[in-house]
């Protein structure tokens, strides 16, 4: 097996055993990138020189028998994490030349764990989208079928992992942006509980839902990466001060008597037959392994997309106000203040970002606030209560991650509403702040990966990781590789 195909835990072990060096691994990754990237387009920026320096330093430490959970591991980072001295664009023209003066907390954590940052991956501009087509620079292609979207917004990270252009990756998830691309690309994506991982240094989209998480080749890697990035950060008031369990030590063990809830609202007409079948089959496999299956209901599910597009756009309209051409980023050539604002933003933002800013501005406006924003917050509470009630009857909820497998590039880009429905299965989880994981559970007749979503109780990432790991042990999906042919 080539070095680039190794999982994080395999590569880490082999590095420790000195079967190869971190520099060799990093070089192998860049070779792979040189070969496949023209077809995939996962990266916006490569950090080749710095990465090889970091890899050499990791080798020094490995020689001295020093330990770091990610020592010498090549990671890809979604381009909405601030990386000191490394361009961070958010796939937007407005930040196309922005060089951050500091590292996001999560970036500091992976750096001190010894990670080698390979580059910054493509995304929908400001993480707004479900296909990575909203990038201001270029679209990313799904390694399983280059005419298909990789999902979004963390499409670049998911494609990079699936194409073996990195060992593992980090993404962000506001409404499904880790899980849906993970499902589309046949990899594992985890959105932790809101507050589990620091948001400091992540370019904000919707502050009450944004969360950082790993995109990996298997479940063990997800646990390992979560262990490194999780934890309280005094710089993020919404991060929670509770101890981080050793997730990777809690994967073993059976799932006997784990109660798995199956909500009927997630297996309805909008969900592709093949997707529903594959997920039901996967649930059957879990039952075989000892889990107890419960039929449950989450009645407010149908309002989730509407609520999300009020709350998320409201927050985004405010979060994106700082891109005004004054202190950094794109600035239009204008004669006066008003035109500097309007032209910088008109020229700097793409269509989807502008649509959401306008939507968010509208729902917060005097006279509309109560009818939209306030109402949405009330329904959001009801959606949370839905889950609270459900979790009295089960430990994990299993659903499809996305209603369909990866659609064609260009297929939905002109129809925002259809695009928004790509996140119909993932959005409620962000509204409720719960942890959820997507893992591969089969392929459709076109050979496109299907993802199953496992939703956990607040701060109970351990249980969904254990259930996912148990499933993975008995199924081949995560080991299959795309052929990457045109």
């Amino acid at each position: 097996m080539s070095l680039v195909q190794l999982t994080l835990h395999e590569a880490a072990e082999k590095l420790r055993k000195a079967e190869f060096t971190a520099v060799e691994l990093a070089e192998a990754v860049y070779e792979r990138i040189a070969e496949t990237e023209p077809r995939v387009g996962a990266y916006l920026t490569l950090a080749h020189d710095k990465a090889l320096e970091d890899a050499a330093r990791a080798d020094e430490m490995l020689k001295q028998n020093r330990r770091g959970p990610l020592l010498g591991i090549p990671l890809a980072i979604k381009d909405n994490f601030l990386t000191k001295d490394l361009r961070t664009t958010c796939a937007s023209k407005i930040l196309s030349d922005f060089i951050p003066p500091f590292d996001a907390t999560v970036i500091s954590k992976i750096r001190s764990a010894g990670a080698v940052i390979i580059g910054k991956t493509n995304l929908d501009e400001f993480a707004m989208g479900s296909s990575a087509e909203n990038s201001a620079f270029f679209p990313t292609h799904n390694p399983w079928n280059l005419e298909r979207i990789p999902g979004g917004s963390s499409g670049g990270s998911a494609a990079a992992v699936a194409a073996d252009e990195c060992t593992a990756a980090l993404g962000t998830d506001t409404g499904g942006s880790i899980r849906q691309p993970a499902a589309c690309c046949g990899v594992v994506g985890l959105k932790p509980t809101y507050g589990r991982v620091s948001r400091y240094g992540i370019v904000a989209f919707a502050s009450s839902m944004d969360q950082v998480g790993p995109i990996t080749k298997d479940v063990r890697d997800s646990a390992l990466l979560l262990e490194v990035i999780a934890g309280h950060d005094p710089a993020d008031s919404t991060s929670v001060n509770s101890t981080v369990p050793a997730y990777s030590d809690m994967l073993a063990g059976d799932i006997n008597r784990v109660r798995i809830g199956v909500p009927k609202e997630y297996f309805v007409s909008g969900v592709a037959v093949e997707v529903g079948d594959a997920v039901r089959k996967a649930i059957g496999e879990l039952e075989k392994q000892g889990a107890m299956i419960e039929d449950i209901s989450l009645p407010y599910t149908e309002y989730a997309v509407a609520v999300y597009y009020v709350v998320a756009t409201a927050e985004a309209s405010s979060n994106l106000a700082r891109y005004d051409g004054m202190r950094y980023g794109y600035r239009a050539n204008a004669r006066d203040l008003l035109n500097t604002y309007t032209l910088s933003r008109a020229e700097g933002f793409g269509a989807e970002v502008k649509r959401r800013i306008m939507l968010g501005t509208y729902v917060l406006s005097a006279g509309y606030y109560d009818a939209y924003y306030l109402k949405a917050q009330k329904v959001r509470s009801l959606i949370k209560q839905d889950f609270e009630a459900a979790f009295r009857r089960c430990d994990v909820i299993a659903t499809p991650t996305a209603p369909t497998t990866a659609f064609r590039l260009g297929e939905k880009i002109k129809d925002p509403l259809q695009m928004y429905l790509s996140d119909v299965c993932t959005i409620s989880i962000n509204l409720a702040g719960l942890p959820a994981l997507s893992l591969p559970c089969g392929f459709d007749r076109d050979g496109l990966p299907i993802g199953m979503q496992l939703i956990g109780k607040h701060f109970d990432e351990a249980t969904i990781l254990r259930v996912a790991h148990s499933y993975e042990q008995s199924t081949p999906w995560h080991r299959l590789k795309p052929k990457l042919q045109d």
Partner: protein, 487 residues
């Protein structure tokens, strides 16, 4: 028809915290532009605010001192608008649930106490400053002030005259200064005021159309602008004109208000709770702790000065006006219990020195040019006739900054008063003997020359002779000469 004016004030008070409200930057005034900035207060992508706990403590202090209800949970909200001095495109403030509500400020007007109710006190961040005309046609932005903590204190429309507004504002400023949470400097903008003014026919219940006046940089500006505005509104209404709800700017030079923007063009700030910050939770223990740490407040202290120290109201007002002065006064009278005399020295002499040395610009003087213990000792020396009042003034001047006690100065310079009769008699006899011409004048009934003799005697004793005794002995001696003419 008679019109009544209705006035409410909105005050922004910069808080004296070491650091800004949501980051660790210094909040010090007067640094080089953009020196006190970091990615957080400069609104970089990805940054998050962390609330400075001291800001909340200061808000609780202000709330308790003005009899407000402190919310057990209050919300920080975003106020959205675009301006170059506002780096994030929104100001973090409070909107629907402020930290303090209700309460009142008491102030004196025409010798009577009046109350103005408070609508609310909330915390928020200040914006930066745009600087025009400094660099050609370009405008520059200084973000040193961006993120400096503010209290916004909103009164009910309870004032009826410009004088009441001024008195309210002075009382509020004094309160914040007493609490050591704001230096109250209107010129530097650390204590800013907007006024809401309307008029209505006397006896009417309904409020008239409200006008907001901005750009008020002094107490004088507040009072004058309100006076102008009330008159303008009265004239308009009584001539049958219609007022519009608007914001007007005070022009200090032309002494008039000018329309800035109407209600129709007012911003829609799109307030909503800031998702980056948790609700501010203030439990009872914390509030009790802050309450226990509150200083005695100015009006209570003044009343106590009148009652306990038998001070005239005027003296008590001056001595309790600043917390540091009141503390000074009470430290001094603990050393020597003569409140009236010590008060006189403070009001007369210490205040002059404070002004000369611009010490009155400090919020709380900790190191005085004359320590309170030394002033007390000086008063005691005078009271016990160890030195004369006049020598006392010299001793006071010598004490300024010398850190020497009155006792030390008197001893070192040999300034102790000559009070024994024999020494004074000797001096008196000498002067009388040396000035026969003046003696003759006195004998012929010219009382004025008495002063001449006193002056000569004081000169002969370098001013140390006890003036009262000099008077007595001199009069006796001169009288003796009248009744027993020289042979």
């Amino acid at each position: 028809m008679n019109y009544e004016s209705i006035i409410g004030l909105e005050v922004h008070a910069q808080l004296l915290t070491q650091s800004k409200i949501f980051c660790g930057c210094s909040s010090q005034f007067g640094r080089e532009p953009n020196q006190n900035t970091c990615p957080v207060c400069a609104g970089f992508p990805g940054v998050l605010p962390v609330l400075n706990k001291q800001v909340v403590e200061f808000a609780i202090k202000a709330g308790l001192a003005s009899h407000c209800t402190i919310a057990t949970s209050s919300i920080l909200a975003r106020k959205n608008y675009f301006y170059p001095d506002l780096p994030k495109g929104y100001q973090i403030s409070q909107y629907e649930v402020p930290i303090c509500t209700g309460g009142y400020i008491e102030f004196e007007i025409d010798g009577a106490l009046k109350r103005a109710r408070l609508t609310r006190i909330h915390i928020e961040e200040d914006a930066g400053k745009n600087i025009h005309d400094a660099h050609g046609t370009a405008s520059l932005v200084d973000l040193n002030r961006a993120g400096v903590p503010l209290l916004e204190i909103v009164s009910e429309p309870d004032m009826r005259t410009p004088q009441e507004a001024g008195a309210y504002l002075r009382a509020l400023r004094q309160l914040l200064q007493y609490l050591s949470i704001c230096n109250g400097n209107m010129e530097e903008g650390s204590f800013r005021c907007d006024a809401n003014v309307s008029v209505r026919p006397q006896g009417s219940e309904a409020f008239g159309t409200k006008v907001e006046i901005k750009n008020l940089n002094s107490f004088k500006a507040v009072e004058k602008s309100i006076e102008f505005e009330v008159e303008r509104q009265r004239d308009t209404v009584s001539e049958g004109g219609k007022l519009i709800q608007e914001t007007r700017l005070w022009d200090e030079h032309r002494e008039e208000t000018r329309s800035m923007r109407s209600k129709e063009s007012a911003h829609d700030y799109r307030y909503f709770p800031d998702p980056d910050l948790l609700p501010i939770v203030t439990n009872g223990d914390w509030i009790d702790e802050v309450r226990a740490g509150l200083p005695e407040l100015p009006n209570i202290r003044k009343a106590r000065f009148i009652k306990d120290y038998a001070l005239p109201a005027y003296d008590a007002e001056l001595l309790s006006g600043r917390r540091d002065v009141a503390d000074y006064f009470e430290t001094a009278i603990a050393v020597h219990a003569n409140p009236k005399a010590i008060g006189n020295w403070i009001i007369g002499d210490l205040f002059r020195v404070m002004k000369e040395r611009q010490l009155d610009e400090q919020l709380y003087i900790a190191i005085w040019p004359v320590p309170p213990e030394h002033l007390a000792q000086l008063v005691e020396l005078i009271e016990k006739d160890k030195i004369s009042g006049k020598i006392g003034k010299t001793v006071f001047e010598t004490m300024l900054g010398s850190r020497l006690s009155a006792q030390e100065i008197v001893r070192e310079r040999n300034l102790e008063q000559i009070s024994d009769d024999r020494s004074i008699e000797t001096a008196v006899e000498r002067v009388i003997a040396a000035n026969p011409k003046q003696v003759a004048q006195f004998q012929s009934g010219n009382e004025k020359v008495f002063g001449f003799f006193v002056g000569q005697i004081m000169k002969a004793t370098q001013g140390k002779a006890n003036p009262q005794k000099v008077n007595e002995i001199l009069r006796k001696s001169l009288k003796r000469r009248v009744t027993q003419p020289d042979t």
